[in-house]
Structure formats: C-alpha cells, structure tokens
Symmetry: C2
Subunit: 522 residues, 2 copies
Amino acid sequence: MAKGKGQRRPKAETPKGFRDYFGEQVSARKAMLDKIAAVYHRYGFDALETSAVETVEALGKFLPDVDRPNEGVFAWEEDGDWLALRYDLTAPLARVAAQYRNDLPTPYRRYAMGPVWRNEKPGPGRFRQFYQCDADTVGAASVAADAEICAMLADALEAVGIERGDYVVRVNNRKVLNGVMEVAGILDPADPSKFEHERGIVLRAIDKLDRLGVEGVRALLGEGRKDESGDFTKGAGLGAAQIQTIMTFVDVSPQFGPEAQDRVKQVAASGRPKMFLGGSNPTRSALNFLSAVVSDSQQGQEGVEELRQISELVEAQGYGPDRIIIDPSVVRGLGYYTGPVYEAELTFEIKDDKGRPRQFGSVAGGGRYDDLVKRFTGQAVPATGVSIGVDRLLAALAAKGRLEAEAQGPVVVTVMDRNRMADYMGMVRDLRDAGIRAEMYLGNPKNFGNQLKYADKRRSPVAIIQGEDEAARGVVQVKDLILGAKLAQDASLEEWKSQPAQVKVPLAEMVATVREIMGRHG
Amino acid sequence: MAKGKGQRRPKAETPKGFRDYFGEQVSARKAMLDKIAAVYHRYGFDALETSAVETVEALGKFLPDVDRPNEGVFAWEEDGDWLALRYDLTAPLARVAAQYRNDLPTPYRRYAMGPVWRNEKPGPGRFRQFYQCDADTVGAASVAADAEICAMLADALEAVGIERGDYVVRVNNRKVLNGVMEVAGILDPADPSKFEHERGIVLRAIDKLDRLGVEGVRALLGEGRKDESGDFTKGAGLGAAQIQTIMTFVDVSPQFGPEAQDRVKQVAASGRPKMFLGGSNPTRSALNFLSAVVSDSQQGQEGVEELRQISELVEAQGYGPDRIIIDPSVVRGLGYYTGPVYEAELTFEIKDDKGRPRQFGSVAGGGRYDDLVKRFTGQAVPATGVSIGVDRLLAALAAKGRLEAEAQGPVVVTVMDRNRMADYMGMVRDLRDAGIRAEMYLGNPKNFGNQLKYADKRRSPVAIIQGEDEAARGVVQVKDLILGAKLAQDASLEEWKSQPAQVKVPLAEMVATVREIMGRHG
C-alpha cells in the first residue's frame, strides 16, 4: 500500500504476549498477595523489591531449555553493557545477597512479589510478563530452612482460601535423584560432566510421569517414544537394568507396607505413587527403602538423611501427610537446585478445555540452590526458597469460587441540571465523607438514559436524582438500582407497589437512606 | 590485564541508576499507596495495571526535552518492531482507552500504581526506575472532572499524613497561558506552529520562577540570562511590551485588593504571588483580572471561564484557599496538556544539602490532555489526570516523621542443641499460631553469641532459650531484649535486680509471657 499523506495512526495494542489487568483483576490479586505477605511476615521474612532491570551478567543464564546468550530474556545494549528485565525473582536475590552481604542479617529471610519477564513465544494463556511471589532463606545450611518453607507454603495456600485436602506439598531431594543416577551408572562423582545429556533426558522424563504414565517414562529412558501424533522423541538410550533402577525409585509404592499403601490410595487420585511424611511408620519405611536404593551413593545417602530431617521437623509442627509428603517423582525444571526440591500441587479436579476432569496441578515450587550466590563471591552460600505462580493460584481460587470480587460499584449522583454541578458535587462529598464510594456522573448529561446505563455498567447499587422540582423542595430521589433490576425482571404489580425502588427523602437524610439500602443488599 | 584461567565473576551490582528497596522501604511505600488507593477507590476510580512493556509507537514521544527517537526510553527491537518500557502511566492509559473503548464505561475513572522507567543520565537521587501513582478520568469534557481530581489530590495527601496547611494544590490553565501568548504576539491561532520555539522558552522560564525570581524570568524572556557560574542561557528574544504582558500575568499580586494581598502573604511563604480559590471576593477579582489580561484571546477567555467553574466546584465541597488555589505560574512540563493544569506543593520547610531551609516543593502534578487518545482513534477524547511522585511523597513523610516504620522484628527462638530442632520449631509454631511474628535461628548454632547478635540485627523484641537443663524441666528462658539493651546501657544494680530482663517460665506459658513483654514495649 502506498504511504498516505497523513501520519499513520499507532495501533492501540499491547505487544504480543502482554496484557492489561482491570479493576477486580488487580484488586483480587492484591488481596491474595496481601494474605500471602502476612503469612511470610509472620514467619519472620522481610520484604525486598529489587530493580526490574539487571545486567545480563548478574542474571546469569539459568532459564530452562535455553542455549543462546540472551535467549529467553528481554535484553538491550547500553554503552557496551547488556541490560535485561529479570526473568525471575531468585537471580536478583542472589545478586542482592552478594552485593549487601555485609549489611544483611545471616540468615537473610526475604519475600518478594512482582512481575517477571520472559522472552518466549506467546501462546494461549502463555504470557511474557507475569507475577511471581517468592520467599527464600539465604545463608542457612540446615534443612530446617527447607522444612520451614514447606510449612509456610501450606499455610500460605490455606490463608488465601485453598482448603486442607485440596493441596499437597510434595518434597524430594536432588541428592537422592543424583544418587539414583550414580547407582544407574549415569553420574560419575569424579566427572560430573559425563552423561549430562542423558541425565537431562531422565529428569525431564520423570517430570512428565503425570502425563506420560510409567510406560511413557520407561520408553523415554530407553530408545525413545512415539506420541499420539506420531512424532518420535529420542530417549536416553539406557539399558534395561539402568531403567529398572530408575523406575524402582520413581515408582516406589510396591515397596510399602499395607498402611502406606492405603494412604497412597487415599490421596494419590492421579494414580501416582507417593511416600508420606507425617505418620512415622510409612515415612520410616519409605526413607529406609530410598536409603536402600541409593546405598552405593554417598550423595544419595545424604539426600535421604535430609529428607528424614525434613519429615521430623514438619511432623513436630503438626504437618501430616494430608499436607506434606515425600514424592520421588518431583524434579523441578531449573538447573540450579542442589538439594531438597518441593512443589505445591492442587489436588481438586477442574474440567479441561474439552470438559474432561483433570487435577488442577502445580501452583508453586522451589528448592535449595547452594551455588547461586557463589557465582558472585566465590564463596558458597546456602539458600533455599519457593516461588508461587500468582496467576495459576488466582485461577485456582476462581475455579473454587474463592476470589474476593467486589460486588458493587460506586453510588452515582446523576446530573439533571448542568448549572447545578456544584450542588451535585456537594452531595457526592457528603457520601464520600460518610465512607461511601460515590461519584458524580461526568459524561455529557444531556441524555438521562445514558446516565442510568453508566450506573448499570458500573454496577452501582444506588443512583441519586435531583431535578428542578426536587431542588426547590430540598429533597432527592434515591433509586435502589439492585431492587429496580430485580423488579424489572420478575415482579408482580403488588411487589412493585409494596417495594418502591425509588424513594424521595430530604437532602439531609440522603446519606442515611443510601446506607440503609446498601445494607439491605449486603 | 591478561585474562585468567577461571571464568570472570559477574559483578554483584544493579545497573547504574537502579536500586533495591528493603523491608521497611517496601512496606512503608505499600502502606502509603494503600491509603491513596482507598481514597481513589472512594472517589469511584477503578484499578488498572497495564503491561510494563509497550510498543514504541503506542507510547509515542511525549517525554520532555527529548528529540531523538527512542531517546529517554529503554527500547529494543523484536522482529522489526520496537518495544519499550513505559516511561509513565498516562501513555499506556491512552492506549487502553483506545483499545477497549467499546467495553469501558464512559467516563472511565481509573487509578494505577507502579514503576516507570526513564533512560536518563543517572545522578544523585535521580533514578531510572521509580514509582508513579496516577488517577485519571477519560471521556469527561467537563472541568468538574479536573475539580474532582484536585479535591481528591488534597484528600490523598491528608490520608497519608500530610496535614492541612502543609500542602497546597495550585491550579492554572494552559488555555489562559496560550491566551497570554496570543496577546503577547507569540501565538497565532491561525498558525500554531509559528513561535513554537519562543513559547517553549517562555514556558520553561515561567516554570523556573521559584528558582530564578522575577528578574531571572524577565531576562530569559528577553536576550538571555547569565547564571552564577557564568554560563549564558539564550532567551526568547521578546520585546519589552511582550515581556511586560507575560510578567503582568505571572506576577499578578499588585492587581489584588488588600484582602487578597493578605492571604497571599499568609500562604505564599516563598514570596510567590498566588490567587486564591475559595473565599469568593479575591477569587472573583483574580479571575476578573486574568480575564482582562487575555481579553483579546478567545482561548484565554475560555480558560478563565474554566478556572471560574473549577473554583465554584471545589468551593461547593468546602475546599478553601488553604487547600486549593489558582496560580498563574503553574506550567507543568509535559507537552500534551491542553487545559487545566495542577500541581500539589508541600509548603513546609526542610533543610537542603547545605543546611539552608527551603520549601519541600512539588510532589504531584497533572492536567487535562484531550488529544492523547486521538492519536490512536482519530477522535478527540477528553481526559484529565494526576500523577503523584511516590518517592518524593515518601521522602516528605520521612521528613515529617510520618513514615509507618515497623519498630520490632520477629521473636527469635534460639538453638542450644541442634539435635532438638524439632522442639524449637514446635515453639516457633506455637508463637506463629498465636499471631506473633517468630522464627527459629537458622544459621550455624555453634556460637550462641552470633544468635543474639542476629536477634539484635533483626530488632527482635524477645529471644527464647531452652538448653538441656530447661528442656529436662519443661521450661524456657524468655529474654526481653529491649529491656536488656536498656539495662545494659544505663541501669543501676537495683534496677538490674528489680527488672529481670530474662524470666524462666513453663513451656505452656511461653506464648503468654512473650505477649505480655511485647505489650509492655507497645
């Protein structure tokens, strides 16, 4: 098309993969985050808000499945340096822990809430800016820190309205996973770089147990797997004995006594085997079994011992298997985890796009990452933390009907006479001074119908009307819009008469009348 | 320097001009913004949170003093499109108003709070990411919308703790300014592009009246001005009559009656003349005077009429000249304002870097920008709004001692025996369940002194201690750290004895004892 004479108008659109949040979307998220922050605060965590922009070198390259430099982040060059938007809240925390290491308390417990940005291909429900809500403890080597965060995660979920029984915090340990890899012969403690590719495939396969089932995982550990569409994914190429070692670890339920088996059946509606913390016998037998599986790996034994400690610590605080369990299939994607890993899964069912029931799934995850701060300082600093997927959790609350939505809009004072705006503004003032959300109609007042349509769009509970007549007599019409809508829908003549949706009161009684009507509708 | 063998460590630093906010900085800002949001909400405004990233074309180029494309913003290219971080919250609102014009109520009242980014040269106290807190009404042509925002701004300042008398909202009108330009012969309604350069110099000069004084402004309107360092700034090159017209407008006090003069003296501690809204006589004479100055300009007359309406509307709501005044010297930098402009100034004195007293100055500003949405749709959409400089207002609250700072940290349960972590965790649980902020010491417990130093750094009010002895007898030591610090500083032997800073109580009484001690310290 040839260039026109006039200036081209800009498109009124967000860039692809970005979005806006309106009214209740903002306030519902804020209400949820405020509740989570209150839990974090009670646990002794302090707020931290880091800069949204970091140097690319400080951020590092820890995004999963990313090979090229600057891939996955939004980055730009400035005087030879590369800056980028943070892709999570953990990398900036590592930078802060290094930068302020002489000023911060040790350990440093902090929480952070805010947007992060990922330069990924946008898709349905897949956005390039989203909120995270993290809590981390930096400088605590003890797994008591991990246990605390698992307990705090359970508390946070309950605080926002996820009921006990509708979630479970699943715990595993990368050291146990590494131990299994050692036993299976694909991790050599003397040369950790060997078999890295194979281990990556194994971890991703275990992570997909939910979706692929035991046989699908088995196939990926071996030659590979053809999916429903016929696409073939190359596997890790392990031998039968290696596969058996790993599958025994992942699919541990047969090793348990009858008590444990029953609990497994109770909770694991997904059919996925789990080992429980809490009740001591099954936990003990589970840990003993894991210990046996990784008996030839020092790292594996360490990992089992850490899980044992975590189980004791959460048990001491009353967190039973209905809230926190050990689950060997928990992997967590990020490459930087070095010890315990955990995730919170919502266990209630929702319908998928095609109306089929499925578990809601994971809403939070984290783990121990003892090497992140070391990047900066050269000294190992133990750290562990969790990140809640804010949009996922909001979606869960919406699915459970637990979102705090505001039912009512403001009271609207209509404009019957545009020369008397000062009077209307005075009425609005009286309402606001009484703590009632209120506004004067600020559009073109000519068409009164538009004013009521506006009140309708705002979901106003009440409209105030004062024309020439009413003004002369010092009264106002107070219109109950909620009752009015109800009457308009299905009222009989008697109901119309007995419940007037509009009352005329002296101006001095306006505030009281409005309050009474709003109280009536809750 | 030759490159070493090892990988270079990344620097643990924010990029230049960026910063982090810790603990109380985050919560003090949140507390302040929550209060402002409550005022905005009561006025009928809805929350909006737009994407941080916009297309460069949607953002437009409205930053002051910016000539090159993409200057002033952080921008990067993606598949041929340029994306950028928003530089304010108004440009994204214009985009939203255009994008969702069929869904949003008209008028659309919204507030927004969040960071914005400017690619400017960083300096002391000058950051490239900072918070703004905006409220705007889109789709209301009536100056009642401007009057409402001025009143709301006053309410918001009082809600966060700025007392009446410590602030003033100053109102002017770009149309009046334009009228004066017309009368002075540097604005031709038939060809608005003529004299644009001169008008820019005039606006900037008026904006600096506070700093340069009347003579400095006069010089900038004429040939130019040499500052203290000897640097010469070229002026607008106006003639004596033109300068006189503009100065008469800016420096209006001689035109007022004695009553107005008195008020001017009362409030304008800066020596800067002001016309007051509120009391009707001075307001009327002020408006009549302005009307006379711009009598030859239709636009100027329109502007005076708008100021008259604003004065009536705020007066009807009880906002007197102690809160809202007309001030012809208000210019506001941004190029897009088309009608009323307003700013909130804090009038109390603080000390500058050199200990000299000066007024705190502006913390918020805004105005009417009827053409911003038109960029997208081709149709004029009237809009007006205000932006509060969040960091400035926080600094003001800090200067007035009004920041809500948390005095106390968490209760710290110390670790005397690392084999009994589960017991300590149980104590923490009891405290948290009682709503008391508490944590177990998670660092290396070997050195008990470090644990108390940690509690000190956290400003903990109380530490809990249970060694082998205490555990055997089912008791805990509850240490009052605030009293302890006081005694350590200045107590006599008698005081030490009569006020024990540490008490031994049965475990079952721990929570009650902690609560009692914390209550004692408020």
